[in-house]
Symmetry: C2
Amino acid sequence: MQRSSYFIAVDWGTSRLRAFLCKVKSDGSLKLVTRRAGLGVSKSALSFEETLMQCISPWEVEYGKLPVLMAGQIGSSIGWKETPYLSSPISPQELAKSCVNFQCNGYNINVIPGLSCKLENNNYDCMRGEELQILGWLQLAEENQVGRHLVCLPGTHTKWVLVEDGKIKLFKTALTGELFDLIANHSVLIQEKVTVFNQGVFNQGVFNQEAFDSGAAFTLNSEMGSLIHGLFSVRSRQLFGQLSAHEATSYLSGLLIGSDVRASMNATEWSLAKMDKVSIIGAPHLSSCFASVLESQSISTEICQVTTTTLLGFNSVFQSINEVNQETA
Amino acid sequence: MQRSSYFIAVDWGTSRLRAFLCKVKSDGSLKLVTRRAGLGVSKSALSFEETLMQCISPWEVEYGKLPVLMAGQIGSSIGWKETPYLSSPISPQELAKSCVNFQCNGYNINVIPGLSCKLENNNYDCMRGEELQILGWLQLAEENQVGRHLVCLPGTHTKWVLVEDGKIKLFKTALTGELFDLIANHSVLIQEKVTVFNQGVFNQGVFNQEAFDSGAAFTLNSEMGSLIHGLFSVRSRQLFGQLSAHEATSYLSGLLIGSDVRASMNATEWSLAKMDKVSIIGAPHLSSCFASVLESQSISTEICQVTTTTLLGFNSVFQSINEVNQETA
């Protein structure tokens, strides 16, 4: 830690840029000093360089030009510096070694690559950004670094990640959040639109636990393939006075999350019954929704705070890069 | 047939109005004389009366004010005359008896009610307009009026209809077509948008049978709940060079139709294995897509021409109304 005890972590996705000024303490642990936000890869009218500088340059006066670590869609084909997808299984050290390094405006910047994996059905899967949360989760407890574990990252796309002996082995993506958004806002199923999110924060007043539970129970317990035949019940339950539009929105969320959890319970790549627990890393409300559905199936869960976990992941990469630099120095 | 040998059938849905001037021949069979189109329930800026008159009044000079039969969303809460949902099981005669009659601008108009049913899982289902196709299908062959039959009506929403001894017993709605539209046009899965429909007509050049088949095979043959975990392959197969954007659109269609057919094969309300065949009534391309997936599962199919079948349904209701009128005259 001699060379630098501060760095800037940038989680730069499609919609948002989140920059964190981090201090690495002498024992290697991390402290979040401050944060700033900016526009995502597909949102900013400025160049990527201008967008980044606008966000982090105010810190220059006090801290100088700190090393920058970036992850997310900024490393994709629609981003600034395209990084390859690295093949899983992969260790944190291998991931850190493959960062794409460049200089910009006096800053030393490393972009963390995304990951790909090949599933048993020969389909590929991929992620960009979520790998940081897994790296961070590995740092949360020593027991996470041995044996098989399943980590669930709910969001626009749910990622179910199988971790084995400290390596990211494989993962599956489910469209759960995006389908919720499309169906709740653009389909005939819910005519009276309910504002579920306001500036990215879940509108808690909208949520109805009972309706959510009945939706989840429907897809968890009914015949195979029930999602495509079950979705229409979101509309028919309103037409026949069983649900209000608000309740129908929670019911839809339950249907989709129930279907996602059921698919994970039936996945051929892992056996949920053999896992001690599923670790969940995501926004608080969504995480607790996934936890309640998993717990209803007698699967233990552990919810991890998303920003803390992500920053631990950045710290893990930062330390690996520093070690390599010290070795080669 | 003494009282009138001509009538106007109006299939008036959310997007489109289709009016058919029909002649009932002396043997009771139907001849389509001519047709006109207009705007659907949610599309016209004019009143319902003006929209209808604009469409059918040009026929007055030659034919006078013919009896009008209407079906579809025009009888819903967003339509002109709201009709109740009648409970299934129901016979064509019972349906015809429950038409809502009114006079407008010298025309005698009957609106055919929609249907509802309660499924084994206690969810309700409902339809408006598709019941005409079932009534028409019952007229296609005497054998259709005895025993159990399954009729598949693909469209924005697929309707799977169980017919037993000449009555509509129950039915299930799948969101297949609407999900296709939402995902193909509004999700991250397909970045390069492909014009699949042009003014309601399928763009045949877009369709790739091989990609469609591989999508259908995926949801037909993989583990339970594969739809929500399988959808992401639409994107990953493009990212990893296995499908072009055009092919991905056909692959997505296969995934969804495969999932719909699989759900029907696993439905608790009927046993597809015990049916001689599945009758399919829908647009030609979509019907052949459903037929190919069903046939791949060794289920025989029969495709029925949609306009012919719909008009036979209108004729069936028209004749029932005439019989009732003659009895009461």
